[in-house]
């Protein structure tokens, strides 16, 4: 087995559980030339705000930033689909020289007239800051003229990593929160933060909450609507999923409106159940808690027998996880355990020290924990650990596939609902459908094994 190709500078960001006391560096800038799997600030903002379906999302910059984020995600809407279009000011050399404010203004007016959105988000890109466009001023002007919120998102790509983009997005939404009418909202009410309604997941989660008697005020941002976000300060609780994407908004809402928040995950049965229980516990409502227990019992009674088939087939297979936010990784570790599989690697693009500590805790001996990995590292680990399936996003897919390893997309492009109890079944099915494919017997890795 060839050794793991690791640049010296990268070594502190890789930890093997059991080999040494826990230590990992993280939240560093990507190393130049290392072919990081990370994106940029702009990407972080787009990820968070993208699913707001009745808003105009205008990318102020050259064409690339807009075109690479055109309709790329599985975030569904139950109504308007404005988010699926790709709007750009398509800055040209002349704009870079003379400034793009006028073009931005005209583009905004044109697009708002054309689509009548409920609000507009305007994303700044790398060069916008550099050429000195006063986006704030243009947005204010258009807001006044068109009487809808026009919100600058300060997402210049180079000003940090994806996480900074989350903040910029939250900060833009902050301007909306608190501007709507909150009359008639139930005392048992929440906002769902950090679910992006991939493959319709938020619909399922909302249904669960409805079943235990909780009103959902705003989806933030899966299947999101401007009006809901405006009145989201009327909710009693913010239920936040995912490591960091929307945490800043929750923090702000706590500060400004005193709304407490809890962090949950909807992936895997334990986390999903715990999410419902926690909400019920928050409301200190026994009936609600009993309803939640009943819901979990019911769902599990159909789910677990169905899972058995997959569990039998998958027992002992090995998984590697590399995702954007570490919080999802926790759930995945547990989900794999539920279907009898071993997690041999887990990593994230943007985990914090606390995240990695928790991963250290819940994983088995020998598991590799990695921050901001790159293709060479990932591929070396795949081979070293003889991984059966890799969980990641589209950028990781070809690495797995090239080496003959099954793959599960657990990122924003996926078309399968993986959240909730039903999602757990889909997850098992999807893992099964990839791991058990007969194609692996033809890949060099397996062929050479057989020859050994």
């Amino acid at each position: 087995m060839e050794p793991l190709h690791v640049l010296k500078e990268r070594e502190p960001q890789i930890h093997r559980k059991g080999e040494a006391p826990f230590s990992i560096e993280c939240n560093k800038d990507s190393l130049a030339g290392a072919v990081s799997q990370r994106a940029c600030v702009f990407c972080g903002s787009r990820v968070v705000l993208y699913p707001i379906a009745d808003a105009l999302h205008l990318v102020h910059g050259p064409i690339g930033c807009a075109v690479y984020t055109w309709d790329i995600r599985g975030a569904l809407s139950s109504g308007p689909e404005l988010h699926r279009l790709s709007f750009s000011t398509d800055l040209q050399e002349i704009d870079v020289i003379f400034g793009g404010e006028k073009k931005l203004y005209k583009a905004l007016i044109e697009l708002i007239d054309r689509h009548q959105p409920k609000a507009a988000f305007v994303y700044s890109t790398c060069i916008v800051g550099l050429i000195g466009d006063d986006m704030e001023a243009v947005c204010k002007q258009v807001e006044k003229e068109k009487s809808i919120p026009v919100l600058p998102v300060m997402s210049e790509g180079f000003k940090g990593n994806k996480r900074a983009g989350y903040e910029a997005a939250c900060s833009a939404m902050t301007r909306l929160v608190g501007t709507g009418d909150i009359s008639g909202i139930s005392k048992h009410s929440i906002n769902i933060l950090g679910d992006f309604n991939l493959a319709g997941e938020i619909w399922l989660i909302r249904e669960y909450f409805n079943r235990i008697g909780v009103e959902v005020v705003a989806n933030i941002t899966g299947d999101g609507r401007i009006e809901d976000i405006k009145r989201s300060h009327g909710a009693a609780l913010n239920v936040v999923q995912c490591s960091g994407a929307t945490m800043d908004l929750a923090t702000m809402m706590k500060k400004r409106f005193g709304i407490p928040n809890i962090r949950v995950s909807y992936f895997g049965v334990e986390d999903m159940a715990e999410a419902l229980y926690e909400v019920a516990r928050f409301f200190k409502d026994d009936e609600m808690l009993e309803k939640a227990r009943e819901l979990v019992r019911m769902e599990l009674s159909t789910l677990l027998p169905e899972l058995q088939k997959y569990k039998t087939a998958l027992a002992g297979k090995k998984a590697a996880i590399y995702v954007g936010g570490a919080f999802k990784a926790f759930s995945l570790v547990k989900a794999f355990r539920l279907i009898g599989m071993k997690v041999v690697m887990v990593g994230s693009q943007t985990g914090t020290r606390e995240d990695y500590e928790e991963l250290e805790e819940i994983t088995d001996e020998g598991t590799i924990i990695i921050d901001d990995a790159n293709p060479l590292e990932l591929s070396a680990i795949i081979r070293e650990k003889d991984v059966d399936i890799f969980v990641g996003g589209v950028k990781e897919r070809p690495i797995a596939y090239k080496l003959g390893v099954a793959f599960c997309d657990h990122n924003h492009e996926r078309k399968e609902m993986l959240a909730g109890f039903h999602g757990m079944l889909n997850f098992a099915r999807e893992v099964y459908g990839s791991v058990m494919s007969p194609v692996w017997q033809f890949v060099p890795r397996r062929v050479s094994e057989e020859k050994e």
Partner: protein, 451 residues
């Protein structure tokens, strides 16, 4: 050509950005690593976009500039990045493309690279470093692709005594096209340098080890010799300004023959004639019989498609070639569109349509899908021909989309689509005709089992 009407905003662009094209071109050179000098997001977005088409890993390094670099310049990061890439990938060549960020902050890349060489080059196994200026705000991915090739030729090729090889600059075609082209040249028995050649690097075999750099690509030694070739064949009718081909002519007096992308019969005929003449042999039987079978098939299928009305969109040269082919088989191209703006598309289309008895279609450069849809709404269409990004339009219009070019994000095997030569025309013809037949069959209440 301007937009019609002249919208300020762009919706669903029909183009990609310049560094993406440069990255693809660099990926077609043996032992090369594409390197973007800019923020990390550019490289990651482009990788993701390219991956979704090729289903292959593509490592694009980045200087990963952060906020402080925007102020103080990206020099240090660029150098560190080059050093790291050199250490990890041991490349023969690093192709550095700039981005709008580094162009705007005014990094002098040529100078930085000179410094870097002074500082770090050991003389042993140092990679060549090529740089090209590709700010997203001044052109599309095609300009980036062509600029990279021009840069490679300018910075690598040497002059000298003429040899017997020819240079082929085939344009932005598929991996299958490149394989086909190389087989064709082999069948002609002619030594040729095809630049770029990502036929293996972006359409490789299943492997046991992750390749630091995928095998394949145009060898550096061949590129160095391009200045000594007896002929350059450069495919493309819409170039504006200098190209790799024109530079080879200017710098090394390599004769240049420009032809269109060899798509359809007549453009392929022209290409084959040029190659045949350069090779000094007749067109081999394999291609003559393929042409004969193609004509035979075109006759067999002509009635199913006569007079159907198509919109063609994508890169300008691809649009020109496809438009020519559609006209040859009796389909009316009614709207030809591109996000590019070479200014040469209309004339090129007029040229390739000459003598086909085909009305001149509307031709629009510098348009997006919003423009295209708006313009097409009263054109009474039967099909779209272009890349995947027309799907939602096709879906709304309830007409089929013939997927060609790049990107193909909603099918597998986009890299395996064959567009060029008689064989490519045959595949296009069968696909188009059968798509129209299928629609007729499925839409019919009767469900004929003979068509």
């Amino acid at each position: 050509m301007s937009k019609m009407p002249n919208y300020v905003s762009t919706t669903n662009a029909c183009k990609l950005c310049k560094p993406l094209g440069a990255s693809l071109a660099f990926r077609g050179i043996e032992g090369a690593v594409p390197f973007l000098h800019g923020s990390q997001g550019c490289a990651t977005y482009m990788r993701r976009y390219i991956i979704s088409h090729f289903n292959e890993p593509i490592d694009i390094a980045s200087s990963s500039l952060g906020e402080k670099h925007a102020v103080y310049g990206g020099s240090a990061n660029l150098k560190m990045g080059l050093k790291n890439v050199t250490a990890k990938y041991k490349p023969q060549l690093i192709g550095v493309a700039t981005t709008c960020l580094t162009e705007t902050i005014g990094d002098d890349v040529k100078m930085i690279l000179a410094e870097y060489k002074d500082e770090f080059h050991t003389g042993i196994d140092d990679p060549l470093i090529i740089s090209v200026s590709t700010p997203s705000y001044s052109g599309t991915h095609m300009e980036g692709f062509n600029a990279a090739l021009k840069g490679v030729v300018e910075q690598l090729a040497n002059g000298g005594e003429q040899n017997e090889t020819i240079n082929i600059l085939p344009g932005f075609i598929s991996a299958a096209d490149l394989r086909y082209l190389k087989e064709l040249l082999q069948d002609f028995g002619i030594a040729a340098t095809v630049l770029p050649d990502y036929s293996e690097t972006l359409d490789g075999e299943a492997l046991n080890e992750y390749p630091l750099i995928p095998k394949g690509g145009t060898p550096l030694s061949s590129i160095r010799n391009m200045g000594r070739a007896k002929l350059t064949i450069e495919c493309g009718r819409t170039f504006s300004g200098e190209t790799a081909g024109s530079q080879l002519l200017k710098l090394f007096t390599v004769p240049l023959t420009r032809v269109g992308l060899p798509i359809g019969i007549r453009e392929t005929d022209r290409f084959m004639d040029v190659v045949s003449e350069a090779a000094g042999i007749e067109i081999p039987e394999k291609y003559r019989s393929a042409r004969g079978r193609l004509v035979d098939a075109m006759v067999d299928g002509h009635k199913y498609i006569f007079g159907k009305r198509a919109v063609v969109y994508g890169e300008e040269d691809l649009v020109v070639g496809l438009t020519a082919f559609l006209a040859e088989i009796g389909i009316k191209p009614v709207l030809c569109a591109s996000g590019g703006k070479s200014g040469n598309m209309k004339e090129s289309i007029a040229n390739v349509l000459e003598g086909l008895g085909c009305e001149m279609p509307e031709v629009h450069e510098n348009v997006d899908f919003y423009d295209i849809e708006e313009r097409a709404s009263d054109l009474d269409l039967d099909l779209l021909v272009g890349h995947s990004k027309g799907y939602s339009f096709a879906r709304r219009q309830n007409i089929p989309l013939i997927r060609v070019g790049f990107p193909i994000h909603d099918r597998i095997g986009g890299q395996r689509l064959l567009h060029i030569g008689y064989h490519g025309a045959q595949q296009l013809f069968d696909t188009i005709t059968n798509t129209i037949i299928a629609k007729k069959q499925d839409d019919s209440d009767v469900g004929y089992s003979y068509m």
